[in-house]
Symmetry: C2
């Protein structure tokens, strides 16, 4: 087993974003700004937000943090989002999920202006991803793309994996990971196989994967019986057991296999926060730079 | 081989739409109205539009037809769409594709108000499909859904095929068929496999399909070597050879197999136009009935 060095890939990406921002700032005096919103006191969410703010600083992205109370009404959250939508200084708005009241999430996400949608979760942006004609076209348009799947594509490319023509099996079909990742892998010419809790021959299908992505949310679910020799395995799982974070892949069981594997922690999660910088930069370019040069 | 009687399935669907419309009309005095736009003189497009208008009449849907010249400018098409968007009498707008100038298509489709998007092709509606939490939720919301994939799901359900847990292989990844169909099949709990021209082991993957959908656009491409016994095979191909229409499935080669198959012509194509009525009815309910009862 070879561990994929996601921290290194992430650092390189931050460095390249930082250089691009520095260059733009030296020419225009402008730099991107991300607004983050945390509702309530969930410690995991607070930790994610802190990590994101820290990375912004590292890359030269300004960040503004907004905190609402655990019992904030939907109208308060939406009203804050609308204020941020209207600000000319803010390029991207991130609403940290999950909200204390899960039933608020859809309306709150839909309140974010698609041109400031840092996570690429608004219907309009999800539609642009679904309708994209090819990967280059998608990137050229500076559309925000859900951070976890975007980070996974980046890991695959940076670790030298061939995607075109390969069998990519995705376990899990969420809006945050499975579905947008399927679309991104299709745009990169993989044969894409989406499996989930209702799939009957899961082991057999996983074993056919050249690229296996586990986004199940069940600790150590995937053992060596699911793995093909020579494959690349991406572990999206972040499961907390007795205060320790573990993935969906049974790490110990992988050690003697001829595979490339992303670690947990320090794998996909690291790339997810880094890709938030990428989305912020994209939206900054779309909102402020293209406007300057092309009038809109 | 058993041929699936798509004409019968389509007639039943039209009958049920007709009854629903008659009931709504008797209560409210309102009936749905579809506006169709044909640009240029493409005889196949003109024939499709005529078939659609005829079916509307059959179901009690009013239709208004607009014709623009072959050399119509993009601004003329967009301007007509905006007029139709603004009309309170029109529930759904259908722009017949392909346009004589293919490069106009994206902007013209994007000009259609998502609330009047008869084909479900606008980014916002594509996003709602991509983000739908389950199939019932999608249907309840009266979101328009691309007609061909919606028709295929209807064929599968009406012909008694089990979808949940089955391997569904889709050949082709277009925005009109492959991608929205993958999302619809996932919502119906199939394991979904998307293959295409870059797939290396196409025959082997197709042979694993409980449900095989061919949307390739190459006449008679799929012969019996691609087919599993007991499977259900959906032929989306409409290829014209010497004035004769033929599908992507080699029909003669299927005759002795233990499969269910949709014919071409008289198969998926028939359901596609029928599902336009379904979308028009959905948009009518969303725009005019829900507005009346729920204030928007």
């Amino acid at each position: 087993m070879i561990l994929i060095d996601c921290k290194k890939i992430s650092e390189n990406k931050i460095e390249s974003i930082k250089n691009e921002i520095a260059e733009i700032e030296s020419k225009t005096g402008l730099k991107p700004c991300l607004a983050t919103i945390l509702v309530g006191e969930n410690p995991a969410s607070a930790a994610y937000i802190n990590a994101k703010i820290k990375k912004c600083a590292q890359a030269g992205i300004q960040s503004l943090h907004y905190k609402l109370a655990e019992d904030a009404k939907k109208e308060e959250i939406v009203s804050l989002i609308e204020t941020l939508n209207a600000s000319n200084e803010i390029d991207a708005v991130l609403l940290q999920l999950p909200l204390p009241k899960k039933e608020f999430e859809e309306d709150c996400i839909n309140a974010i202006n698609p041109l400031k949608d840092a996570d690429g979760l608004c219907p309009y942006n999800a539609g642009l991803l679904s309708l994209a004609k090819n990967y280059k076209n998608l990137l050229d348009k500076n559309i925000p793309i859900p951070c976890t799947p975007l980070g996974i594509i980046h890991i695959l490319k940076e670790s030298g994996a061939e995607i075109s023509g390969k069998n990519a099996v995705i376990i899990g079909r969420s809006n945050l990971v499975g579905k947008p990742l399927a679309l991104l892998l299709l745009l990169n010419d993989a044969s894409v196989i989406c499996v989930h809790s209702k799939t009957k021959n899961l082991k057999e299908i996983c074993k056919s994967a050249d690229i296996l992505i586990a986004a199940i949310g069940r600790p150590n679910f995937i053992n060596k019986d699911y793995i093909k020799d020579g494959s690349i395995v991406i572990d999206v799982g972040i499961n907390r057991i007795d205060g320790k974070i573990t993935g969906d892949i049974d790490f110990e069981d992988m050690k003697n296999l001829d595979i490339k594997l992303t670690p947990v922690p320090g794998g996909v999660g690291v790339m997810t926060t880094t890709m938030l910088l990428e989305n912020t930069l994209r939206l900054f370019k779309q909102n402020r730079l293209n406007k300057k040069s092309a009038g809109g």
